[in-house]
Amino acid sequence: MKKANRFSTLFLCFVILFVAAPAMAQEDTLTVLCTPQEDWCVAMTEAFEAETGIDTNYVRLSSGEGLARLRASSENPEFSVWWGGPADAFIAAAEEGLIEAYESPAAAAIPDQYKDADGNWTGVYVGALGFCSNVDVLAELGVEAPTSWEDLLAPELKGFVAMAHPATSGTAFTAFWTVVTLKADALEAAEAGTGYDEEGAPTEAAVDAAFEYFAQLNNNILQYTRSGAAPGSMAGQGEIAVAIIFSHDCTKLQQEGFDGILTTTFPEEGTGYEIGGMGIITNAPEPEAARMWYEWALQAATQEIGPTVNSLQLPTNPDAAVSELAVDLSQIKVINYNFAASGASRVAITERFDAEIATTPTE
């Protein structure tokens, strides 16, 4: 009977553990859903832990995955605060009630264009979309670094372009919406009222035109990755020539061993940008700690943590120092990005993208 006794002891240990564990978890902990790159997540959570003593955990998920995860666990959320990733996902989350409004005192310091009027989310950084190219591979293929979206369709680049999957990645979704906006502008220029509807959102025709563009681009795409920044490393490794990623992710790679290999260019007809959002999860298990994080993340000093790990997004807090390596938005042409409209169409677009483009074999 000895064996049975040992079994029951083990079982008892289990029972004690999971009765006790949730009770202990209530105090002094915070679980962050973190969307930027892993090392920035580490630096942020460590700094927060050092400052507040709150035991801070994070999970890094790309924004599409994060959104999906919040949706799946909305009745019993695992996370308390969501930090980083393009604001479109936060707008989609707010619309579904997955994040809740919070009147943050610190948000007063953030310029209006970088935050939601209703307080559902506040911007924590800004970054512009660009093309990250491997100069050696480009030279070999005999093409210049792309300076327009049309350049990416060059037949020489067949199989040498990569981007993430818009369903999982906010970066890729930003790229998609940028093309939607450019198509809407073109339609509007040809005939007023065809590019944008009365509310200023791009029309169905503009979205269709963007899908046509990405269907063409699909022939040049090697692989749709899960995470937005991943194509940049593929370009660095020389596996592809051009990655469609945020320019700060390209700069980060240049800082971390790919200097002289990678070059950043921007499309001259205009590029999209992201406001990295932050929001408090509805029914957060640790609401107090989440609000502390929220206030803390908007401080100038906190927004200077990024550059220490080569994350060179622009801070939203005007008092935070700007790294000289960061992109200067006044030097590039930035489109008029309608975040409300993009957030509202996110789900429909990503599903359509998955069905029509990502699964289609290239010609």
Binding site: K2, F7, N76, E78, F79, Q223, M234, G236, Q237, G257
Partner: protein
């Protein structure tokens, strides 16, 4: 005759009923299999046949895009199965039938893939043979496109050929050389002997190796995720559908489509191949196997095996080297920054959690496997075959299906009235921060191996030894502990090693189950690979391989690979 048989059965059944401990153990085993294995699979199949699920079947099966994906999956499984079996056969043949140097080396190389973390091979293959690969471009100057079917075949055959190797080597060693001799004496030359005697005898082994590799290949998630290119397969589609679109129903439907070939293969393997086996195992073969001396055959086969060994060594060398350079493939300056990042960062928790959960799961899995084997081989009870079959499903079913099944079954507590039978297991709020679900998955994925080796070992032992113990007054627990367990110690060791290695390296089954509170190394490796930080990924792989090696060493020390009798003999000398 029938009457006698049923009275015998009744007697044995009666023997179980008289032994309360046996009943308790049996109930625990049945409960485990029902809850941990069957319930999630049933929940997943149920979800796919739900009102939202059924129309999706139609959509997926009619859509030419999905037809291509299904076809891709099958083609890949077929090719990997064929090539993997061929390589396994080659290794086994050289090992058993040829008199060549470096046999021990070849054997060890063939075993390495078993303890290899997912993604390691694929990532190293990209560094070596990718568009900018050290070998493909550095040596041959070509921008070889490894992404797609050819790359997948390369990494998958290297990952899975070990299955065929071990399987076929065992069978070749068991072949009675007397048969070869008889054929030779009748005037057949070596080639004819090989073709008409050896090959037919090995056919069941070849078929079952092929099928096992086929199932592993179509279920594999890690490799297609890293180097699939635009070659889409079902496993990655399930992953994107769930992780990206969070369409659990769609994922379940695709999983059922993936489940059909897997289960078919499992059934064929279980009920058909085991029957057509022409080998009569009559104990140890008499005499030494004949070796083949024809120099051309001998050295060309030797060369082929050494070439494959070379590729494997290159790949693992790249992993180890890559862990210590700044950017593998691009910047070769030496650094320990990857290890710093892991050990001083999130990796420390991942190492701790993964090892702890695997250590917890390993003995339980081995014990459950051996106990089920004991019950199935030695005892007679209703549903004996069903118990064995259900436990084996743990590995026959692709990992992603288990994962989805767990989300569907255990996301809310299972209640009977007001009484919680099983608490919520998945997600951050689940029991032990979701760790319990992961341990359960580790266990159910490892039980089949322990069960198989346990069954094989028990079938070799004459039940009269145990009956003698019972006659002398020992109860069944004592008999099992003092007589059976020491006799099958090698099987137990194999079960333990396999369980631990499998738990540490599993990804597809737990990818949907990791939570903020539990960090799993394979999941972290995926993150690093996905973001192209190969240095960090390789460093994780090196640490993981080191942990598994240390554990195997410890298990050898603690459990030992000899039966109790062999120990006594040596001790007495």
């Amino acid at each position: 005759m029938n009457a006698i048989r049923s009275t015998q059965q009744f007697k044995r059944l009666n023997a179980i009923l008289k032994d309360p401990l046996l009943i308790i153990v049996l109930l625990i085993l049945v409960f485990f299999v029902a809850v941990a294995v069957l319930l999630p699979i049933i929940a997943m199949v149920g979800e796919s046949f739900s009102e939202e699920g059924l129309p999706l079947f139609q959509r997926y099966l009619v859509d030419p895009v999905y037809q291509t994906i299904i076809l891709n999956t099958l083609i890949m499984g077929l090719l990997v199965g064929l090539i993997g079996t061929a390589i396994g056969f080659l290794f086994a043949f050289v090992q058993v039938k040829l008199d060549v140097p470096f046999k021990r080396f070849m054997h060890l190389i063939a075993l390495i893939p078993v303890i290899s973390p997912p993604f390691a091979l694929a990532t190293a293959a990209i560094v070596l043979f990718g568009r900018n690969g050290t070998i493909s471009r550095g040596v041959f100057g070509s921008r070889y496109d490894i992404y797609g079917l050819d790359g997948l075949i390369l990494v998958m055959t290297l990952s899975f050929f070990t299955i065929a190797y071990l399987n076929l080597r065992g069978m070749m060693e068991a072949l009675d050389p007397a048969l070869d001799e008889a054929a030779t004496n009748l005037g057949a030359n070596k080639w004819r002997v090989f073709r008409t005697v050896t090959l037919p005898m090995l056919l069941p082994g070849i078929a079952s190796s092929f099928l096992l590799i086929f199932v592993e290949a179509i279920a594999d998630l890690g490799n297609p995720l890293v180097m699939g290119g635009n070659y889409e397969v079902l496993a990655t589609r399930v992953y994107v559908t769930i992780i990206g679109l969070f369409n659990t129903t769609g994922g379940a439907v695709l999983s059922v489509i993936l489940l059909v070939p897997s289960l078919l293969v499992f059934l064929v393997q279980r009920y058909w191949i085991s029957r057509i086996s022409v080998i009569s195992v009559t104990g140890k073969p008499s005499g030494k196997p004949q070796t083949i001396n024809h120099p051309l055959v001998r050295w060309s086969l030797f060369g082929a095996v050494m070439f494959i060994c070379l590729i494997i060594v290159l790949i693992y060398g790249t992993i180890i080297h890559g862990a210590f350079v700044r950017v593998p493939g691009v910047r070769w300056d030496l650094t320990t920054e990857h290890f710093d990042f892991i050990i001083n960062g999130i990796g420390a928790q991942a190492m701790r959690d993964t090892t702890a959960l695997s250590v917890l799961a390993t003995p339980i899995a081995a014990l459950i496997g051996i106990l089920i084997a004991y019950m199935v081989v030695r005892k007679e009870f209703f549903g004996r075959n069903a118990l064995d079959f259900s436990a084996m499903l743990g590995i026959a079913v692709p990992g992603t299906i288990i994962g989805i099944g767990y989300i569907l079954s255990f996301n809310t507590p299972i209640m009977l009235g007001d009484f919680v039978i099983i608490p919520k297991l998945t997600g951050g709020q689940g029991a032990l921060g979701g760790a319990l679900a992961i341990v359960m998955v580790y266990i159910l994925r490892s039980v089949p191996a322990a069960l198989r080796s346990g069954t094989a070992a028990l079938s070799q032992i004459d039940p009269s030894i145990e009956e003698a113990s019972t006659s002398l007054g020992a109860d069944s627990a004592r008999t099992f502990r003092r007589i059976t367990l020491p006799l099958i110690r090698p099987a137990l060791l194999a079960g333990l090693i396999y369980s631990f290695a499998r738990s540490m390296t599993t990804i597809s089954a737990i990818i949907f189950l990791t939570t903020p509170q539990t960090k799993i190394m394979t999941q972290q490796i995926l993150n690093e690979v996905e973001n192209g930080r190969y240095g960090n990924a390789f460093a994780y792989c090196v640490i993981l391989i080191a942990i598994v090696m240390v554990a195997i060493g410890l298990l050898y020390l603690v459990v030992g690979d000899q039966t109790g009798a062999e120990r006594r003999l040596e001790g007495g000398r």
